[in-house]
């Protein structure tokens, strides 16, 4: 599942956001440290200091776990996935993307995606017909760029604007 950054205004704690990465990181640090035979007084807090520094460098935002049509698994920054969808939405005349959410779907998970959008529409645009154009554009972009089908695309028009 995607990881979402809460909109509280506070910076998320990378350790909370990436517990698996944090465990892997501790493993690498342990591996690194295992090559030494330090005295306890020499290493007091050293692991934690390294961990804290690396957490700051490592935290690159939430990611979405997918796999290509050939079955190769990968993760991609959620911002990059949203950007792909956003460009597809904005390419539709009279439509501007607001929020974009892409979730892994399919079996195995990540072999497809579900998309939920909110959009702003120009006044006078017929919603039902345009929604199908948006769905076509998004489905084509997700398939072309990520190699997976968008099995569900929910669109919510939340605003109308006048040019």
């Amino acid at each position: 599942m995607n990881e979402h950054v809460a909109g509280s205004g506070a910076e998320p704690d990378p350790a909370d956001a990436h517990p698996e990465s944090d465990a892997a990181l501790r493993g690498v640090i342990d591996d690194y440290m295992s090559t030494f035979e330090p005295e306890p007084e020499d290493t007091a807090g050293l692991r934690e200091r390294i961990l804290r520094l690396v957490r700051d460098d490592l935290y690159r935002g939430p990611s979405t776990h997918l796999q290509t049509g050939r079955g190769n698994p990968f993760s991609i920054s959620t911002a990059s996935v949203r950007s792909i969808v956003r460009i597809a939405v904005d390419s539709v005349d009279g439509i501007r993307a607001r929020s974009v959410d892409v979730e892994p779907a399919g079996d195995p998970e990540g072999s497809a995606a579900t998309v939920a959008l909110t959009v702003a529409m120009r006044a006078g645009i017929p919603f039902a017909a345009t929604a199908e154009v948006i769905r076509g554009s998004v489905a084509a972009a997700v398939l072309a760029e990520l190699g997976i089908p968008a099995v569900r695309i929910d669109i919510n028009a939340e605003d109308v604007y006048v040019d």
Partner: protein
């Protein structure tokens, strides 16, 4: 084995190599195995960066740990490799964080990265009962 140095006695840290993929200079079979992993990491990094659509590699976990250790130990660092290859008895693991451009689809680039890594490490994976685990993360995609 080397002893860990204190923060204030940098002269004792001369044997450390917190850069070069985060591995200290040591003697013995363990160091030899790590040397092979570093050589494989460098080779795979070269292969992956040659894939069209890969803009750059982000520092790997070992690089980040090494850089952090260098900061803590107040030492300078080398260029990060960008790929972590590690071998165990039953698998070869590769971790890559990559920055892509948008000249190709993400799926195409990912599939080609998997192909070049499999080609690069097919011998090593065969030695490890054929298991090759690739942990690939697309960190960014830009124009």
């Amino acid at each position: 084995m080397l002893r860990m140095c204190t923060l204030t006695d940098q002269s004792e840290a001369n044997g450390l190599n917190p850069t070069g993929n985060g591995l200290p200079r040591t003697n013995g079979a363990g160091a030899e195995g790590r040397g092979e992993e570093i050589a494989e990491s460098v080779r795979v990094a070269d292969s992956v960066t040659s894939v069209a659509g890969v803009r750059a590699l982000a520092p790997g976990l070992r690089d980040l740990v090494a850089t952090a250790a260098a900061k803590v130990l107040r030492r300078s660092g080398d260029e990060p490799v960008g790929v972590d290859v590690s071998r165990s008895r039953d698998s070869v693991k590769v971790r890559i964080d990559a920055h892509l451009d948008d000249t190709r689809s993400v799926a195409e680039v990912v599939d080609e990265i998997f192909s070049v890594i499999a080609a690069d490490l097919s011998g090593e994976a065969a030695e490890a009962d054929g298991r090759l685990d690739i942990d690939l993360r697309v960190v960014s995609r830009s124009r």
